[in-house]
Symmetry: C2
Subunit: 306 residues, 2 copies
Amino acid sequence: MLVLLTGGTGGAKLVQGFNLEARPEDLVIICNTADDFVFHGLHISPDLDTITYTMAGLSDAAKGWGIRDDTFVVLDWLGRLGGESWFKLGDRDLATHIMRSNLLREGLTLSQITERIRKRLGIESIILPMSDDRVETRIETPNGEISFQDYFVRGRWRDEVHRITFTGVEKCRPAPGVLDSIREASAVILCPSNPITSIGPILTVPGIRSALRETRARIIAVSPIIRGMPYSGPAHKFMAAMGIEVSAFGVASAYRDFLTLILIALEDSELMRKIEGLGIQTVTTSIRLESLDDRRRVARELLALL
Amino acid sequence: MLVLLTGGTGGAKLVQGFNLEARPEDLVIICNTADDFVFHGLHISPDLDTITYTMAGLSDAAKGWGIRDDTFVVLDWLGRLGGESWFKLGDRDLATHIMRSNLLREGLTLSQITERIRKRLGIESIILPMSDDRVETRIETPNGEISFQDYFVRGRWRDEVHRITFTGVEKCRPAPGVLDSIREASAVILCPSNPITSIGPILTVPGIRSALRETRARIIAVSPIIRGMPYSGPAHKFMAAMGIEVSAFGVASAYRDFLTLILIALEDSELMRKIEGLGIQTVTTSIRLESLDDRRRVARELLALL
């Protein structure tokens, strides 16, 4: 069994590679849910959805989020009625949010709903939210504390980041199956998602980090940082705010208490010795995951390493 | 001031005529809300919406409900995810339901939301729900008691009707403005909606029927029945179940305690004397409202009668 820890866009690229290269019944994907938020009264789980759509072959590779060929009629009319329309909800995508919000109100858990949706979409791999409890990433900026989506989507990650907190994380419990799958996995892959706001919340859920320390699985990370910059998104701002060096070395050191191996970019080969000084094996390869071929190749390389 | 009491489809045809023939600032439209229901966790107000879309010039004249040129992407995907899709919610229409449901949860009343939406859509006339409180039409059929939408849309009004009840109506209050507008109106028009399940609930809201009896306004009904059959929908089944003769005479007698005049079909002119026996004036004209020209003509005829 292969467990993947992931956020949305960045991690989803590697998840897509594994979806096409690994046996689906071998995969368990644990998703960040700290970016979840409520928009027009609907519960949105951006990372869970991006992963679900990716696994169902429905994802929009060009945009990196949402469903391919989606339309935006509802959002357009919400705007016409005076509603907020800064978060881009497609019509197909909206069906997921409407269904999830309704089932949550009926008392189902996020995991139960995720399971129902993945089965309906014909996904054979398991997809788990990190927790069924509400955890919320809050970003402290010079203009006050805002939610992750306010920072990331509405503010287009332009604000300076002072501090990141995960509200509710102390009291939350891992979703059913999360700890067991980490304990029983032959390998755990930390996908190239933002180490602070995507992988970070997962590691902060009580019990997950110690399960990673204790499992006999090999734990491999793919660096989301190449030559001191993330290849997408604002990870550098968050890492700097947390006092973590913005480099593959910084990523490795953030995971040093449980990491077996890190895949880093060829351009970062001078970091190998420094990372290996942490007791972490290092392999260099081309880790930009823009093309589907690259995504499949990196997944194959990781499978070969196991 | 002209007050129109109406349900959805049938009444909306005459409302459209008035929208084009009367001064918009003179119109107050009071809508049935007993057909409201919750679908996928969204609060749907079919009659309020049909009237709002009609007044905004957005209605779908061919279908008689929804917004013109609407698409059905979300509903299609809800079905794909295993959700119910028997109630035809268009994408544009869904924006209304999402916004209303969210604002209701935030504590706004149905009237406040209706007011906000009509202003955003540039409607100058006032649109009022009969009540801000929840009233639900329940239909007793041989297979048990079901909601109005279950009977009307899902079951395509095929079931026999034993009994009709309006759950919650005893405790509900008229929405703000409803009683005052009836009291201050120069005329009240009962649109050709189903007298039992569209006009019926409005008349049952505590205070409305007595306001109609007491107002100095002339009160005019347009018969929805021609030669013993409704010109659309299942009004005959409901009237029969309530022991009301399925004819323009039956309609007039149901409104006899407050009605000044009823407009009936030319084909029903033999009923004139019988209706006038109730003390209700009777005018015959062509009351089929299929074409826009007919809708405007009947509105003009009614305005001329006032």
